[in-house]
């Protein structure tokens, strides 16, 4: 009973979330994904190709997949919460394809995506701050368009 209480307590849950965030940030720093040079080096397939990103993805999947299939899939609920919040949406629609295309273009321009941007904020680099703010504005634009769409429809 005590173990149960600790596991579902808000403080423990928050601690785990913090640890997960730290692990993610460390992953960003150690993998070199915070340096756009590495990202662009991977995306520049006709240039001096840097395969690092492939190993980052591979490393991530190598750890995530076994845990997902052997642990997550066998659980009724997560350890600290009541239900898994995983999307059940499996449709491939124009919205997804458009979104992925636009994201790819943006990523290709600066070699920065959300994870590295957030991790890099502590450095105070103007370009990173500008990128992050613009990204937030981008989110906001979509939220606005979608809510207007909902009201009209």
């Amino acid at each position: 009973m005590l173990i149960q209480t600790i596991l579902s307590s808000a403080m423990f849950t928050r601690l785990i979330t913090l640890i997960a965030g730290v692990l993610f940030g460390l992953g960003m720093m150690i993998s070199g994904m915070v340096d756009p040079v590495n990202v662009i080096g991977f995306l520049d397939i006709t240039g001096d190709w840097n395969p690092s990103l492939m190993f980052v993805m591979g490393g991530a999947l190598m750890v995530f997949m076994p845990i997902y299939f052997l642990v997550v899939r066998r659980l009724d609920k997560p350890v600290c919460d009541n239900e898994f919040k995983i999307t059940t949406n499996n449709t491939v629609d124009p919205k997804l394809l458009t979104g992925a295309t636009l994201f790819g273009i943006g990523w290709g321009i600066a070699g920065v995506c959300p994870g590295p941007a957030v991790t890099s904020l502590s450095g105070g680099n103007l370009a990173i701050v500008a990128f992050t703010l613009s990204m937030l504005i981008g989110f906001f634009i979509v939220v606005r368009i979608e809510s207007r769409h909902e009201n009209v429809g």
Partner: protein, 137 residues
């Protein structure tokens, strides 16, 4: 012959571990675009864990130098207008597509989600094409 990218692999494994931990313990997907955009109009109970996770990421960036990993000094893209454009496209694109490299690329593909596999292929091709145009044309 260059060295095997051990740091890339190790860093990637940490990303996978982080995502697995968040999912097993808290039942949530570690997709940074989703975590961030959920802060904009947070639903009940959705703000705290997102802010905590992001705080963790920032803390990590301050701890990493002790392990010998620093933030880059500068970004290759020269102009702020281009950076702003990039940010807007990433924001719009990830929100429309409901995910980014961590959300679709790691968590989605890791679940063998058809939607995420396709999204990842599309944004990879798009990014590669953009890079080609930018650097070689």
């Amino acid at each position: 012959m260059s060295e095997f990218p051990w740091d890339a692999l190790r860093g990637g494994m940490l990303l996978g571990l982080s995502a697995a931990l968040l999912l097993v313990m808290n039942g949530r997907i570690a997709g940074i675009s989703g975590i961030l955009s959920g802060l904009l109009k947070p639903q009940k109970g959705e703000f705290g864990w997102r802010a905590t996770f992001i705080l963790g990421m920032v803390i990590a960036s301050l701890l990493a130098p002790m392990l010998g990993f620093e933030l880059p000094l500068d970004l290759p893209v020269a102009s702020i207008p281009m950076v702003v454009l990039a940010g807007l496209l990433v924001g719009i694109g990830t929100k429309l597509g409901n995910g980014c490299t961590s959300g679709h690329g790691i968590c989605g593909m890791g679940r063998l989600s058809k939607r995420s596999i396709i999204a990842t292929c599309v944004f990879m091709v798009s990014a590669i094409a953009t890079t080609f145009v930018r650097l070689h044309i």
